[in-house]
Symmetry: C2
Subunit: 414 residues, 2 copies
Amino acid sequence: MYLEDLCKNAKKAKYEVAKLNSREKNSALRHIAKCLEEDASVILSANAIDLENGVKNNMNAGLLDRLKLTEERIQGMSEGIRQVANLEDPVGVLLSESKRPNGLELQKITVPMGVIGIIYESRPNVTADAFALCFKAGSAVILKGGKDAINSNIAIVKSISRGLEESGITKDAISLIEQTDREITTQFMKMKEYVDLLIPRGGAGLIRAVVENSLIPVIETGTGNCHIFVDESADFDEAVAIIFNAKTQRIGVCNACESLVIHEKIAKDFLPKLYAKLQEKDVEFRGDAITCEVLPEANEATEEDFYKEYLDYILSVKVVSGVDEAIDFINEHNTGHSDAILTENKENAEKFLKGVDSACVYVNASTRFTDGFEFGFGAEIGISTQKLHARGPMGLEQIVSYKYLIRGNGQIRG
Amino acid sequence: MYLEDLCKNAKKAKYEVAKLNSREKNSALRHIAKCLEEDASVILSANAIDLENGVKNNMNAGLLDRLKLTEERIQGMSEGIRQVANLEDPVGVLLSESKRPNGLELQKITVPMGVIGIIYESRPNVTADAFALCFKAGSAVILKGGKDAINSNIAIVKSISRGLEESGITKDAISLIEQTDREITTQFMKMKEYVDLLIPRGGAGLIRAVVENSLIPVIETGTGNCHIFVDESADFDEAVAIIFNAKTQRIGVCNACESLVIHEKIAKDFLPKLYAKLQEKDVEFRGDAITCEVLPEANEATEEDFYKEYLDYILSVKVVSGVDEAIDFINEHNTGHSDAILTENKENAEKFLKGVDSACVYVNASTRFTDGFEFGFGAEIGISTQKLHARGPMGLEQIVSYKYLIRGNGQIRG
């Protein structure tokens, strides 16, 4: 009952949010940004409880850091909301129009998605980010955050709700599912009647659970087994710099490089050079037989290694006979996120761009650029790894739908 | 194993189909159209077996008619394929491009979906239609047709496969799941690793089963509880003509009108007029209390009636206080397909267009126009009733995806 009521209220709220014009949405967002700053001490107290529980539950340092809020991070959340207020409104955009021979006037325009559900893990800043994007896109949002961040999330949502009400907007434009057991998450995924779109944000396990259980249409996000293929003609220095960046600049992100594919003719010369540079960060290489032969420091890779998103200082390495085998190997093992070729051969570059089946395919650049800000979309709600609806970084334009408006004067079908 | 092998082969084929250029695809389609005509007698013999089994199993006349092929209907299938050959290629279209401040060149282009699965019921012509659209859109297709049409489908697919091979293209561009039990359909819906998109075409029961069981992203199609709202200011004669058309021109289709919503101020004058006209087709009215009061011939509607897609000579009728209540009532009961307002009041028309949450919202026209040909898209693969990816009639443009191509010269992320 609790969950169904919450979803029903969100469905009611979606019609109200859909009616708001850009000015109303933007001024509410700016007011909410201010509310979060005003409520910083309350939010930090709530976050302190979550951190304390995290320590008690032996949470590791990385996760504790993701969970932790500071004055500065709250300031960052507010700043993010103000940036969303400054973006173009994605709703009401005329996509196309035509007049049919029978006189019907057809318009295709963007409309809000309706109710968007987001299921995510420990970072409490997602709460504010996801709300801002969904709200600007004219939708109501239902959030199901991680258990670890529940007190922080409750405090953040309370502050956002205050901002909404003070702006004369229903507080049901944002809802947080405050129960944190698994059962309620599974129930939430069945609420097809009320929720139009479900976006899971988190690790591969969460994404899989959502895909397997949801009756609501899902956009899969964020699992990235990203490959870099070093072609025979690659510039070695540039290649080392790009791979070093893609592998080590931030290891825990979905656009980091996890797998190296290399042309057999340069494996012997290139791999030791690369290995030497990557030892600055103690990166472990896990390679196939040829890799282990030319680079004795490499460990042997299992077949499983080539499917893995390590999110760690580990790189799998596969030697191939050329660009065709590289494309086949990548299409077999990647997650459809981001893959790159490093080459001075234009023909191979175009073959790779066309042949690799990923959201983002790069020539001579780091895979780390797959990101809403880097693509110029502004904030993003996630990076889609499926082909339906949206692919790659999803900004405001990717979380709206469209409808047809047809104006007639008595037309009937013959 | 049978099913997994079939899916694996389709996945291999998708890369081959994706590489074909427009000329190659179009010439193969035209050759296949000829093959079907040449193989007409074989297809008709197979169809005769299906019809015989249908009669044995007491299939009703309507279903037998949908199942039946004739020389003319096979000719129609071939003609449909030639029309698809004449449509613009939806693959490789540049959607946008930009140069980022760091020099990265970003292009967003359309790409094939990959492997598209279609699950459908008795009409064997869907076999040829669905193949032609998916193939033109650069994808391999896996078909799971109804048990009733299995012999016809096998013959049609055999003819298409011949056409593919004679055009030098892998016959795995089309696969038919020849087992017809339910278990294999359920297994098919789990083949997420090989199939990129699943489109069910058929009754509400089939669609529900697919949504509930599929791990593959689904586009829901075709359930239409379409409403027409007659506003206070509607032109009575025009309104009668539109409703007669929308309700009775073809009762078994998803864009037929199933539910009438009427302004309380005109119910008493309008309903008897409408009822008189609809008696030409013996349409039963099922109304709320006020309807039954002003139109004694109407039967009482249950709450369930207002959610029903009758596909029959039955119309539910609800009296409301005005456009606002009409919008709320429709959003509560419709299936997001097509809804219309009949009015001479421009303000109410705009309110209705904005407020009703459906793929197609009409002013002063029949809902029967929701159709790929009527919208000028050419053939359609179905009419989407969900908001993700595609909404309303889905032509070639709606069954492709996109990807980003990013060309750099050594960029790394700072």
